[in-house]
Structure formats: structure tokens, C-alpha cells
């Protein structure tokens, strides 16, 4: 019988620990498929964050390092500088990247480090149980803003793609979403472009993926996907923000 679909070789056989309806799993699958398709197998070092994806080192079938909270771009910098021929990527959540690790991501980007960063924006701190993230939407409820994010008290959400695309160092900055089949396919194209840019030594490449956290949003998976599509995309428009040809 012909095989029409199989799990990417770039994923191990370890079952994901993610909640039902979590889109971390889709993001992993896309990254793994792209790495396999571009022939990167056996030539990759990945960096896992602190956040729900902390165990990503168990899932990606390549050498992996587990960074401290927010520092994945610095760790990836250290790896890429001593192993310039490897494909090096970091995978980070929004608390990790846009709060505690803001300095590391901006400076890796502005230095034009030839790494690829996959940024999971689920507008919440998943792992620690649903606290407000820097990306939490205005009015969105979290355990540290139970009546909804109030900019007077909690400040405004950060748009990372927009921020990074003002810099000279990045070669590719794009935002996709993981809320339906069409957007997932588009996101995969973005991820492929990002890694291809790294191979072509063009500079820093970055893909933000709007993601669902049904558990901490208090929604079922379907509601969560429609929140990504209908609420998040208003604030975080999809598209390519910067591309160096």
C-alpha cells in the first residue's frame, strides 16, 4: 500500500505532552517537515525555551539545547558562532521572547545572527497557568488580570514582528497563524523561507505563529481557533513584514 502521509523524520517517536487543541504540536510538525524537506536532517541544532515547549528537546529529532527563560536567542548565537555551517533555530513562547527575553531577541536580530527563530504567540503564559503575557490582548482575561487586560494598569500588547522589522539585521520577518488549514499551509511557507534565508546566509529570520491555548483561555479547541482567527488577527495582522531578496 502506498504511504500518503507519514510523520516527519525530524520528529522523534516521543508523544507530545501538549493539551488537546494546543497548536504547539502543529508548529512542531511544520518546523520538522520544513527541516526535512530542505534536507537539513543531521545538520541541525535547535534551542528549546522555558515555557510549555520546554520539552521540545524530546520531540525534535536533532541535537538540542535547553535554554534558560528568554535566552534562547543568546544560546543560539553561541551555537551558530562556533558552528556556522549548522542550521540553528530557537523555538520560543511569548513570555519567553517578548517579556523576559526581549533584549536577547532584539539584539540577536539587530546583529543579524544567521539563526531562525520560531515565535509562538498564544497571548498568555501557558506553562505557569495562564498569567498575562506581554502579548495578551486588551480586555483578554488572564489570572493576573482577571477582569481583562486594562492598558491603564497592565500596559499595551507588544507587536513583535512590527518591532523587529524596524531593524537592519533581520532578513525575513513574517507572521502566520495556526487556526485553519489554509493559514497553516501559509505558515509553513513562511517557515520554509525563514530557514532558506539562513541557508543562504542572508541574516536573521523570524516567524511568529499566532497560536491557541485553549486550556488557559478557558475555551474548547474550536472556540480557541476562532479566537485566533477573529480576535488575535485584528491586533496582529498576518503577512511578511520584512524580506531581503
Amino acid at each position: 500500500m502506498a504511504i500518503v502521509y507519514k510523520k516527519s523524520n525530524m520528529l522523534t517517536d516521543v508523544p507530545f505532552h501538549y493539551c488537546p487543541g494546543c497548536t504547539h504540536g502543529i508548529a512542531h510538525k511544520l518546523v520538522a517537515e520544513v527541516l526535512e524537506e530542505i534536507g537539513a536532517e543531521g545538520n541541525v541544532v535547535g534551542v528549546a525555551p522555558v515555557g510549555c515547549a520546554v520539552f521540545a528537546y524530546n520531540y525534535f529529532n536533532c541535537d538540542m539545547q535547553e535554554a534558560s527563560h528568554g535566552r534562547a536567542p543568546a544560546v543560539a548565537t553561541g551555537i551558530k558562532r562556533v558552528l556556522p555551517d549548522r542550521i540553528v533555530f530557537a523555538y520560543q513562547g511569548d513570555g519567553d521572547l517578548a517579556s523576559i527575553g526581549m533584549a536577547e531577541i532584539i539584539h540577536a536580530a539587530t546583529r543579524g545572527e544567521k539563526i531562525t527563530v520560531i515565535f509562538i504567540n498564544n497571548a498568555i503564559y501557558g506553562m505557569t497557568g495562564g498569567q498575562m503575557a506581554p502579548t495578551t490582548l486588551e480586555g483578554q482575561k488572564a489570572t493576573t488580570c482577571i477582569y481583562g487586560r486594562n492598558p491603564e494598569v497592565n500596559g499595551h500588547p507588544i507587536k513583535v514582528c512590527e518591532l523587529l522589522s524596524t531593524l537592519t539585521g533581520p532578513s525575513y520577518i513574517a507572521r502566520g497563524a495556526l487556526c485553519d488549514a489554509a493559514s497553516v499551509r501559509k505558515a509553513k511557507t513562511m517557515i520554509r523561507t525563514a530557514f532558506q534565508n539562513q541557508i543562504d546566509k542572508k541574516g536573521f529570520s523570524f516567524v511568529e505563529l499566532l497560536s491557541a491555548c485553549p486550556t488557559n483561555w478557558g475555551m474548547n479547541p474550536e472556540q480557541a481557533l476562532s479566537y485566533v482567527k477573529n480576535e488575535m488577527q485584528d491586533l496582529y495582522p498576518l503577512g511578511v513584514f520584512k524580506e531581503v531578496k
Partner: protein, 352 residues
């Protein structure tokens, strides 16, 4: 042939000759000559250098580079070393070899920029979170800085424990003639089986990690670290015993202060007083056995611990000697440095 070199630059050159190929730093006085030197020197030998956005980033770059198998280091001074502590803890948890230089300045807080030894606790007792130690050296001359730095990567690789070189502003700035060793042949170094070289071709993939979520696994890991520290204590403990064999008074000091104390010992000897110097070269592991042995000598009446702090190493001196002889303390802090005459005066007044 000897060359006249500043301590900081001598450390940098010795690191390069000892195999350092990646340096990540952030400016802070009084260690700036190290990153400045590395910023051009490493590219001459095929290495890499990044001026990081912070000490936090720098130590995490060291984590990445060391995890990828390279000989990587960073240097800083007290406030910057405080910022690195989380990263150092992760490096110890993940058992990554690397070298960290701390050219200590006075604290707490922003403190001052003059020499101090007030980071002894931080360096030797952990500094960051968790059950861990570094292998800490306290060199007292530029030549000793060179010798220790030159071999630091070998020692660190052997045990998979980071080496810290604890200097101070004076040691970094002083110029002395030094003999520089030959370049180590890095092509002879074995592949590190645990490193993420990224060339595994799907087999034996490596994971650099400090997350051990099962208590039994983490406990076993901490015991493994503890066993390593015991092994280090057995093999690497180093000290200098200067004229303690017939001493009534044993002055204890490390680093810069040990040079001052040695001059004081010489003056006191000229005055006919039987005074010696016991100098730890490794601050962790502390030379406990030698301190205990000297304390048991009948001739020894008292110890005088001298430091550029309000008394940090003295706790190890008391523990090691079991306080079977009194341990007095003479220290300056805040960036002030005692002279040999100050120590002579203290000993003459408080002991004789």
C-alpha cells in the same frame, strides 16, 4: 622570552593559547582589557567574539557555544558576575565546561571600581541557585594568572565543571613580566561525546539540558556533581605554604592580598618573628587538609586571616582548622588596600 604585560591582557592571551575560540562579554571596569583584547585577537586564530547586549546574554552565549563543544569563556566584574549567576547555574546543571573570569571590585550594589575580594562567598559557595560549585582559582601574580588560565580549559573539560578565575582590579591592571606558553594543539583534543555538534545524521542525538523534572533523577544528578567535586578536591587542590614550618603566626591570604602578606611576612621575619603565610591557590576546593595540618603544628599559636572584605574566606579558615587555634582577622574593604606595613602593625599589636 619574557614580555611585560598587563594582567587582563595576559589572561586574554593565555586563554587564546590555551584554546579559547569563543568569547562573549559586556564592558565593565576593571576588566575591559580582556574583551577589548579578545575582540580582535580571536579572529586572528579563527575564533569568534560577541559584545553581548548584557552579561545575562553573554553567559547564555557561553552556554550555547560550550554546549556545541567549543572552548568558550566570558569575563566580567562583580555586578556583571551577579547578573550571570542564573546562567552559571544552568551551565553547572548541564555540566558544560567553560571559563569565567571575575576581576572583583568593591560592593555591594554598584559599589566602586577599586580592587576587592568581597565576592568570595559568591564564587565559592555557589552564587546562583541549586546544589553546585565552580572550580575557583585565586591567582596572585600575572604569571600565575597566565599559568592557571592556560590550563583552565583542560581542567574544565576533564570534569565538565566551569572554572572561575577570581582576580581583582589590581591583578587586572598591574604590569609584570610573563612567560607565555606555546599554543595548545586543538586538533589533538578528543571530540566531546555529549556536545551538540549538530552533525549526528540522525543517530545518537545530544541534548544539553539542566531540566530534570523527576526528583530521583535530579537527586542522582546532584550526587554525580558532588562526586565530581570530591574528585576535583582530590586532584586539583592547590596552595602555597611559605615559611609555616616553624611559624607561631600563620597569615592566610589569597590573590593580591597574599603578595602584600608575603612582604609583611618577610618584614616580620627580619624583626625576628616567626611568621608564615598559607595561601590557597584553589579557593574551591579549599585546601582543608593543609590548613588542618598546619593548625596542628605545636609551634602555631594563632592564625591571622587577611582579606579585602569584612571577612569571607575566614569562614573556610575556621572550618578547615577546626578553630583549634584562634583565628584573627585583618581586612580592608570598599576598594581600599592594606600595605605590608599595615599587616606588620596589626600582627605586632594584636599578636605580639
Amino acid at each position: 622570552m619574557k614580555e611585560l604585560m598587563k594582567g587582563n591582557e595576559a589572561i586574554a592571551e593565555a586563554a587564546v593559547r590555551g584554546g579559547c575560540r569563543a568569547f562573549f562579554g559586556y564592558p565593565i571596569t576593571p576588566q575591559n582589557e580582556i574583551p577589548e583584547y579578545m575582540s580582535w585577537r580571536l579572529f586572528e586564530v579563527g575564533g569568534t567574539y560577541v559584545q553581548a547586549e548584557s552579561e545575562v546574554a553573554a553567559i547564555n552565549m557561553v552556554y550555547g557555544a560550550a554546549g556545541a563543544g567549543a572552548r568558550a569563556m566570558t569575563s566580567s566584574s562583580s555586578p556583571g558576575i551577579s547578573l550571570k549567576q542564573e546562567g552559571i547555574s544552568y551551565i553547572c546543571g548541564a555540566r558544560l565546561p567553560c571559563v569565567i573570569v571575575n576581576m572583583v571590585r568593591g560592593g555591594p550594589g554598584l559599589g566602586g571600581i577599586q580592587p576587592a575580594q568581597s565576592d568570595y562567598f559568591q564564587a565559592t559557595k555557589g552564587g546562583g541557585h541549586g546544589d553546585y560549585h565552580l572550580l575557583v582559582y585565586g591567582p596572585s601574580s600575572v604569571q600565575e594568572c597566565v599559568d592557571i588560565m592556560y590550563n583552565a580549559f583542560d581542567v574544565s573539560d576533564k570534569y565538565r565543571v566551569p572554572v572561575m578565575i577570581l582576580g581583582d582590579g589590581m591583578l587586572g591592571q598591574i604590569m609584570e613580566p610573563v612567560e607565555l606558553p606555546e599554543f595548545k594543539d586543538l586538533s589533538k583534543l578528543p571530540r566531546k561525546p555529549w556536545a551538540t555538534y549538530g552533525d549526528n545524521k540522525g543517530k545518537d542525538r545530544q541534548i544539553v539540558n539542566s531540566l530534570l523534572i523527576e526528583p530521583d533523577v535530579l537527586e542522582a544528578h546532584c550526587h554525580l556533581l558532588e562526586d565530581t567535586y570530591k574528585e576535583i578536591a582530590k586532584n586539583e587542590t592547590a596552595f602555597e605554604n611559605y615559611l609555616c614550618d616553624d611559624a607561631e603566626v600563620v597569615i592566610t591570604a589569597y590573590g593580591t592580598v597574599a603578595r602584600i602578606a608575603k612582604s609583611a611576612v618577610n618584614i616580620l621575619r627580619e624583626q625576628g618573628k616567626k611568621v608564615g603565610l598559607l595561601r590557597p591557590i584553589t579557593l574551591y576546593p579549599f585546601p582543608n587538609d593543609e590548613f588542618a595540618r598546619v593548625a596542628k603544628q605545636d609551634c602555631v599559636k594563632t592564625f591571622v586571616c587577611t582579606e579585602l572584605s569584612l571577612g569571607q574566606m575566614i569562614e573556610d579558615v575556621k572550618l578547615a582548622t577546626g578553630m583549634i587555634k584562634p583565628v584573627k582577622f585583618f581586612g580592608r574593604t570598599g576598594g581600599n588596600v592594606m600595605s605590608p606595613e599595615d599587616i606588620v602593625e596589626y600582627v605586632n599589636k594584636e599578636v605580639y
